[in-house]
Amino acid sequence: MVGTKVRERPDTGQDVLVAPPTEVAAARATGDDDFEALESIISARHLDFFYGKEQALFDNNLEIKKNRVTAVIGPSGCGKSTHIRTYNRIYELYRDHKATGEVIFDGRNVLAPGTDLLDLRRRMGMIFQKPSPFPMTVFDNVAYGLRQHYRLSRSELADRVEDALKRSALWDEVKHKLGEPGVALSGGQQQRLCIARCIATEPDVVLMDEPASAIDPVATSKIEELMESLKENYTIVIVTHNMQQAARVSDYTAFFYEGHIVEFGPTTQIFSNPQQKQTEDYITGRFS
């Protein structure tokens, strides 16, 4: 593994090397959370995943705490995205993708047969790496899930759309453009539009799969601010390549390597005092 490049995105993180531990600790004091006492909203247990015959996840065990931000970090190809894509069973769109083990959400194993996928996916919204506005107006994008899951009057719908756009910090930028196509917005705006579309249906969890890797730094910081405010009402799981981002936004961090969860703990601890050598090597950029 000599010379493995950790930084893959010079466009977004000019310097992915993490800030000195003390700074991180000062910026976020989340170590006083009592991890054991907090309610887990998602528990992955003995989770394995297969692309055809190739195994991509090995015995993953992870507790996602309610109303906290959990970051999933690790080099590319380590299974970060694969892991969170089991939570809403989106991987099932592809024939030879299989997950075994358990993902307990709200007391039930979502991987078990008989799960109501439509409701599961409403309750676990997903934001993708590339902004994915639907081919319709800004308003219709946000109203998409509302129309699908709820029976609302016209005025209720308009109120909910406005509310979702405000909570996504996008309202002021698009209030005069509600009738324009979603794809006409800038990349960063499109991503916030997707967040608005997602939270409009009142999910419990928002899964973010590298939400800021395709947008510029200013837009990225807006999304990070947004996550801070969204955390009051939602549980957020964010996959990211950018370790500074993980350190800035998350309460807990899981480090993935080659399909295994190497280390999981409070973000401050992972970044200031990692217990595993691999974790330390990764976050200090000395990956070997």
């Binding site: 989106i90 996928l117 081919p135 699908q148 249906t201």
Partner: protein, 336 residues
Amino acid sequence: MSTVELDVRNQAGLPRGAAKAAPRTHRSFGDPAFRVITLICGLAVAIAMFTLAGVLIFNSWTAISELGVGFLTTVAWAPSNGRYGALAALAGTAMTTAVAMLIAVPLALVIALLLTELVPPGIARVVGTGIEMLAAIPSFIFGMWGLFVLVPFMQESVAPWVTESWLGQVPLIRPGATFQGGGFSILTAGLVLALMVLPYITAFSRDVLLMVPRVTKEAGYGMGSTTWEVLRRISLRYALSGIVGATFIGLGRALGETMAVAYLVGGDFLTVPKSLFDPGTTVASLIALQFNEATTALDVSALTALGLVLFVITMVFQVVAHVWLRRSQRTAGGRA
């Protein structure tokens, strides 16, 4: 450092005299030359269009000046009686094309959606290739098939059964005065036309549906949509402009198709069909069948005027399609 290395390699590998590569000259000619060539080709298309329109107008001028608007409002085409009417043929074209499109477009869309979203890739490839091969069959063959298979079937089974049931009292189905048993009829021609345009519309629609980005579809499923909702609200919206384009390609073909229709439609140049089971004619088949019998200058000119009418109709449809597409893109923002 690099010079040294180059020298070494030259002595080792390259033939004498090639030691110093000459700098390439004239590279700057590439772009202007390319521009000129593309300009010529582009202009050629435009010139061909305008020349075509010009020749059509010029050659039909005698008919236009002598017959005037009456050409379009007169029903029958009976040159021996001095009557040149396009109305019967226009009505026949409209009816056969409508039948063809009403059947082919929904069917093509369903097949395209099945092939792109629901059927396992292996089967989709086989079926898709089969459909593309259907597009390669000459129209003559479709005409023969219609003549030997569909005409007797319509005549013996479908037409009697339908016209004698309660359906036989419904307008457009109730046989008119020219009814000849329903074998050679607007419906038969329309059905064969549907079969002919189906592969085009299916193949183009499938191609545009395949271009819907994976992440957009995943986002749809991620919102808790059913397959049907993703297809209808996202994939179809995304591919809409391409599908409309595909439909117009099919429409153009249906409007202009000559031989297969000429065999099957019945060749009644005199009346506007009252029923789908009545015989009739279309603009294109009328031109094809009458050209050999055109004797006077006016005969030829009138037939050319028919061609001009067909030309204008297809142009109008193209323009309408473009305007409509541009408007729908402004609100939906789908791909062009």
